[in-house]
């Protein structure tokens, strides 16, 4: 259930935990410069869950990996500013970043099997992380590790501590990995598709856990996913990305009850409904996302957009009221007309 109070209304409207300004990430490739992230700005406040939605190639992972300083491809060019608690992260050396990663910002990945090393026990890996950042005896690290495993809901934590990753199920592995990410009490947790590799019943358990992390540990969470259902379930605010840019952002309520961008409409419509009548055909988005090597001029979504008009050859900037912004030239009236013409208005979907 999404929290009913928009995060922007939270009392601590002081400096955000993370503030990203005009972040651009490009890669030099044989076929030219590939712009994976084309100038995005966003902030994450303390205590909030921000959902980043988009399809493959939308830049959702690359942008968050840059926050972690995990892009060390020599052909990558990272520009812009990433301020974490007021400290600039862009341009820090790997050595300097090491004190930030794990301690301050931690990341969990889609596939916990490849993220954990298979040759050491779960406990060894958690203890290593604890002792890399804190002065702890091995006994104390073990004790803390077992506590962490218990906190993420692993039954028999002291037994699991000595298990190898392959001995655990997918859901348990993801829990163990989350325990590892939490070991140094990071203020910010970046979760990249944390439930995509899991079954729905296990996904439900992990989503409960993520909500609890915010409640019990006060973590801020950036949740990267392609699944709008997951976002609706846990996020306070949402950013919708397309071809390396943010095309719409707002509170979860705004994005789901009153989306503005035609791409957001298309995404909503593409998902078959779980309740109510089944449409004979799903209203799908025509075509496929553009190549990042060869982005169309103007609005990157315009070639697929049923509502494009002459202005769409220019590039729209994010604009709107308050926290709700969309990068689209449609006026509120035009939006209203377009929405009225849609086959399955969102309001009727429930």
């Amino acid at each position: 259930m999404p929290s009913s109070t928009p995060a922007s209304a939270s009392p601590e409207a002081k400096a955000p935990l993370l503030e990203v300004r005009d972040l651009r990430v490009s890669f030099r490739t044989e076929r030219g410069l590939l712009q994976a992230v084309g100038g995005i700005s966003f902030r994450v406040d303390t205590h909030e869950i921000v959902g980043v939605v988009g399809e493959s190639g939308s830049g959702k992972t690359v942008s968050q990996m840059s926050v972690m300083g995990l892009i060390n491809d020599p052909n990558a060019v990272i520009e812009g500013s990433i301020l974490y608690k007021g400290r600039e992260l862009v341009g820090l050396s790997q050595r300097q970043l090491r004190s930030v990663r794990g301690n301050e910002i931690a990341m969990i990945f889609q596939d916990p099997m490849t993220a954990l090393t298979p040759v050491y026990t779960i406990g060894w890996q958690i203890a290593e992380q604890l002792r890399a950042h804190n002065r702890l005896s091995s006994g104390a690290a073990r004790k803390r590790g077992i506590e962490l495993l218990a906190e993420v809901g692993i039954p028999n934590p002291s037994v699991t501590f000595d298990r190898y990753p392959h001995q655990l199920s997918g859901g348990m592995r993801q829990r163990a990995f989350i325990a590892m990410a939490l070991s140094c009490n990071p203020s910010l947790l970046i979760a990249d598709e944390p439930t995509t590799a899991l079954d729905v019943t296990v996904q439900a358990q992990i989503l409960e856990l993520i909500k609890r992390l915010r409640r019990d540990f006060g973590s801020s969470i950036v949740l990267i996913t392609h699944d709008l259902g997951v976002v609706a379930e846990v996020a306070d605010r949402v950013m919708v990305m397309y071809a390396g840019r943010i095309v719409e952002r707002g509170t979860t309520r705004e994005i789901f009850a009153d989306p503005w961008h035609p791409y957001s409409w298309g995404l909503h419509d593409s998902i078959p409904p779980m309740v109510g009548a089944r449409p004979r055909r799903l209203p799908s988005i025509l075509g496929s996302p553009p190549s990042l090597l060869d982005l169309p001029p103007g609005c990157a979504f315009s070639p697929r957009c049923p509502h494009r008009f002459s202005r769409c050859t220019e590039r729209p900037a994010l604009a709107g009221a308050g926290d709700h912004e969309a990068a689209c030239f449609l006026s509120p009236e035009q939006r209203g007309q377009a929405l009225a013409a849609r086959r399955r208005p969102l309001k009727e979907a429930s």
Binding site: S169, T201, A232, T252, S270, I271, P272, P273, R280, S288
Partner: protein, 335 residues
């Protein structure tokens, strides 16, 4: 939707598929995976049977048994009333024309070194049913059918996006005019916007060509969209089967209920009559399934009976069967 009428196109009777793992020379280390453990169902012409379940429930193995990519451990498969479950590869050859498979990963299922035209024409050549001209004509026809350009026939798979590759996989499966298509997670590797295109394509093809589908997927919203009937699998067995709408509206098996309730809905502001049931624990290993009802360790209604006796599939309402001692739908509620 096509209701269950007339003779089934394909029927599975008590199909079992067990795999032996571990060191096969040392008897002590040999273990058996009960991947599919006694499954029976019928698929009628023109309908779509959705097979859902979580990973390891045996849905893919069952799909592969149906089209006889696997040999069965026991049981039989009847295609148009003819037993094909025990046929040899040679005997199966002519029958393969009637049933084809579409795979999940369009990146892995197409040979990267061959041109799309060759890939799609391969079944036509293998079965030797057509002359060179006829093959050319059929290729163009197939490309149009799945929404690709005829010029694309000379390209290689890597030049296509995931959605286009899945279209190629579908064209290949359709080359020999099969009546039955078994699609194993055909859209789960695709982005949502592309997923909808492929779901629509499959629906159009079914309408135009009168195809029958067995649609295997873990994504319940997709399965709900495409299927006329649904079979829910858990640990190698069907726990519930019934018409899509009825099954989603009022699931009869506690597992189906939990599965449906676990799907996150992309909406805010919905009235929460949809109560989430979070199952504890994981799916047990199919090497060592629990005694009695296989779902009992995770079931909130389990009793002593469930721990002892394995329930059989029995009818609870018109066209609905459930394997549960205490079904959530009683025989009276035929909506």
């Amino acid at each position: 939707m096509n209701q269950a009428t007339g003779a089934p196109l394909i029927e599975a009777v008590d199909v079992k598929k067990h795999f032996t793992v571990g060191n096969s020379l040392l008897a002590g280390q040999r273990r058996t995976v009960y991947a599919v453990d006694g499954v029976s169902f019928k698929v009628y012409p023109g309908e779509t049977l959705g097979l859902v379940g979580e990973s390891g429930c045996g849905k893919s193995t069952l799909g592969r048994c149906l089209v006889r990519l696997y040999d069965l451990t026991s049981g039989s498969i009847l295609l148009k009333g003819r037993e094909i479950g025990a046929m040899s590869q040679r005997e199966l050859r002519p029958i393969r024309r009637e049933m084809q498979m579409v795979f999940q990963d369009p990146y892995a299922s197409l040979n990267p070194r061959r041109r799309v035209g060759d890939l799609i024409a391969e079944p036509l050549r293998v079965h030797g049913t057509a002359s060179r001209d006829e093959i050319e004509r059929r290729l163009k026809e197939l490309m149009a059918l799945v929404g690709l350009e005829a010029e694309h026939l000379n390209r290689f798979p890597h030049e296509f996006s995931g959605g286009q590759r899945q279209r190629i996989g579908i064209a290949r499966a359709l080359a020999l005019h099969p009546g039955l298509l078994v699609a194993d997670e055909p859209v789960s590797a695709l982005d949502v916007s592309i997923q909808a295109q492929i779901v629509n394509l499959l629906a159009d093809l079914q309408e135009r060509l009168g195809l029958t589908y067995v649609f295997i997927a873990h994504d319940l919203s997709v399965v709900r969209q495409v299927s006329s009937r649904i079979a829910v699998m858990y640990l190698g067995a069907i726990v519930e089967m019934g018409p899509t709408e009825a099954l989603f509206q009022a699931p009869a098996h506690p597992y189906t209920e939990a599965l449906i309730s676990a799907v996150p809905i992309p909406e805010v502001d919905r009235d929460d009559r949809r109560k989430r049931i979070v199952l504890t624990g994981d799916v047990p290993s199919p090497m060592n399934p629990p005694a009695g009802c296989r779902f009992n360790p995770r079931c909130r209604f389990a009793t002593e009976l469930c721990r002892k006796e394995r329930p059989v599939l029995r009818e609870v309402a018109d066209g609905r069967t459930v394997a549960c001692h205490y079904p959530l739908v009683q025989a009276a509620s035929a909506a």
